[in-house]
């Protein structure tokens, strides 16, 4: 599989796993988002309990067993709390839907985290010095009697143990009637967008009491509702361009220079469907659960229930590449509808050089596709293959009657073990895979 460094086949091996081992998974511990920052030095996770945990990459010298160093806990904080909107009788979950990092501008790190209704800007900063020798208070912090002070001194900065502090700098609230599914920082580093089921808003990072509505697909009569917005993203280098995907499997590209309200798209991406193959499930499985621009900005990738598609922004009538994630599920759609799995929202991601893409599946399997060689691989995130530097063995699902040794049959797949969230380091072949309440980190073997 081609990667960032060369065109050789990579061998993925286990690096670390975070989280509890016990069988009983508390709902709050389920990881709901994973995101590397722009340098890859930091890895953030959000969970259903509204908490954010940030891991920092530490160099190899500390642990000679690791190939590229380890990710260790850097900071953790409670980002969102559960709320109840009494006026609307609406329960607001504290689950973190998305985390997006801002590009680093100084020594502090900033990220946006959002639940269904409120987006927050968090500042994560380090403190490794402390002032000592205050005039008005003593070493314990108690105020000194001003009449007792007979001389003045200049406080000095003394080193202290590193402390990482997370503080909420902005709270962007009350702008979404429906549930926020996406946030995306613009390349201008000043604005960002937030999207819910029916509307997309544009914010300025400094301004919390106002946001600008740029897309509104709410029909005048809600009975006429036919589709909702499922994901949205800003273009990586054109600050006037963004895309949003729908539950009908379409993507609209909008240009903010064209109009203040971007209800009319600039480009409309849809793959033509064969009307004779249409079934009850067609629309449900065509619903796009994630859309991601390539780092180059030339392509975008969409994830629907059974496949991942790569689109060339210059060609609207069909994708340039289609990859089947788990086609064997097509003959199981009835039971997947009954157990609600057909509504699972899988994400997808690009590697740093846009030569490979990755997405998750069931049974803790995840899939990688090499765009150049067209090779694909299925790997598993499991405790069994979690020995340090152990190479991951490719997995295979048997679809026919005969099941080979080491293969697993479709009916034996565990549909409760879903990998919805994965992330690829922006520069290296290091990946983070969220398997329910555990975070797995894998690296390639070639150094």
């Amino acid at each position: 599989m081609a990667g960032v460094a060369s065109g050789n086949d990579f061998q993925w091996c286990f690096s670390q796993v975070k989280g509890a081992i016990d069988e009983d998974v508390a709902e709050a511990d389920i990881i709901s988002t994973v995101e590397f920052n722009h340098s890859g030095e930091l890895l953030a996770t959000g969970d259903k309990g509204g908490r954010v945990v940030i891991f920092q990459h530490e160099e190899e010298c500390k642990n000679r067993l690791q190939l590229r160093g380890e990710y260790n806990v850097y900071s953790t904080f409670q980002s969102h709390e559960p709320e109840f909107d009494y006026l609307k009788s609406l329960e607001i979950e504290e689950k973190i839907n998305k985390i997006r990092w801002l590009p680093q501008q100084n020594s502090a790190h900033f990220l946006l985290s959002t639940n269904d209704k409120t987006i927050k800007l968090w500042k994560i900063s380090e403190r490794d010095k402390r002032a000592e020798g205050y005039n008005l208070k003593d070493e314990n912090g108690r105020l000194r009697d001003p009449f007792r002070i007979t001389s003045l001194r200049v406080p000095v900065l003394m080193p202290m143990d590193l402390m990482v502090e997370a503080s909420p700098r902005r709270v962007f609230a009350n702008a979404h009637t429906y549930h926020i599914n996406s946030i995306s920082v613009n390349s201008d580093h000043e604005t960002y967008l937030s999207a819910d089921d029916l509307r997309i808003n544009l914010w300025h990072l400094e301004i919390t009491d106002r946001s600008f509505n740029i897309v509104d697909i709410k029909p005048a009569n809600m009975e006429e509702l036919t589709e909702v917005i499922t994901a949205a993203e800003c273009h990586p280098n054109q600050c006037n361009v963004f895309v949003y995907s729908s539950s009908k499997g379409t993507i609209r590209l909008c240009d903010m220079r064209a109009a203040a309200l971007c209800d009319r798209h600039t480009k409309f991406f849809e793959e033509p469907e064969d009307p004779s193959s249409r079934s009850f499930f067609s629309e449900i499985i065509s619903s796009i659960s994630d859309v991601k621009f390539s780092h180059s900005g030339r392509y975008m990738m969409t994830r629907d229930y059974l496949s991942v598609k790569v689109w060339d922004l210059n060609m609207e009538n069909r994708p340039v590449e289609t990859y089947q994630v788990h086609e064997y599920l097509r003959s199981k759609l009835c039971s997947l509808y009954e157990n609600d799995c057909i509504f699972d929202k899988f994400e997808c991601c690009w590697n740093g050089s846009d030569s490979a893409i990755m997405t998750g599946s069931y049974n803790n399997f995840f899939r990688m596709f090499d765009r150049n060689t067209r090779k694909d691989i299925t790997l598993e995130a499991s405790r069994e293959s979690s020995k340090p530097r152990a190479t991951l063995k490719p997995r295979k699902v048997s679809t026919g009657g005969k099941r080979k040794k080491d293969e697993i049959s479709v009916d034996s797949l565990d549909f409760n073990k879903k990998i919805l969230h994965t992330a690829w380091h922006p520069k290296e072949n290091v990946i983070a895979v969220a398997a329910t309440n555990n975070l797995y980190i894998f690296q390639d073997k070639i150094n």
Partner: protein, 120 residues
């Protein structure tokens, strides 16, 4: 790809042309076969697939209606019965006020003051 079709009626000797065509369709598309299965189990499923019903259900996520009368009646009922009849999930229709909250059902909304196990 599995060609098995479960739950369909065996073809009679006098199968009409339409029935034969339908059966050909089933053999060709596993997706259509799954649709037939679904419709056989849930005949009342809406004609509009993936349409307003599903979307409206999605938009209404989190909506909790509370009626103190219902609640007190349910509390009294729980003492007599073992459990209340559950709404069929596959019906995909949640009638407001139909699900009577019982003391066990109501989630305790406490903020998560416990630290994440990922940080452990």
């Amino acid at each position: 790809m599995s060609e098995e079709i479960e739950g369909t009626k065996p073809a009679t000797e006098e199968a009409t042309h339409e029935e034969q065509e339908e059966m050909d369709d089933k053999i060709i598309s596993p997706e259509k076969a799954e649709e037939v299965k679904l419709k056989a189990r849930y005949p009342h499923l809406g004609a509009k697939p993936g349409g307003s019903d599903l979307l409206r259900k999605r938009l209404q996520k989190g909506q909790k209606y509370f009626d103190s009368g219902d609640y007190n009646m349910a509390k009294a009922k729980v003492k007599n019965k073992q459990q209340l009849p559950a709404v069929t999930q596959a019906e995909k229709a949640e009638i407001t006020g139909d699900h009577i909250p019982t003391p066990q059902d109501i989630p305790q909304r406490k903020p998560s003051i416990v630290a994440s196990k990922l940080a452990g």
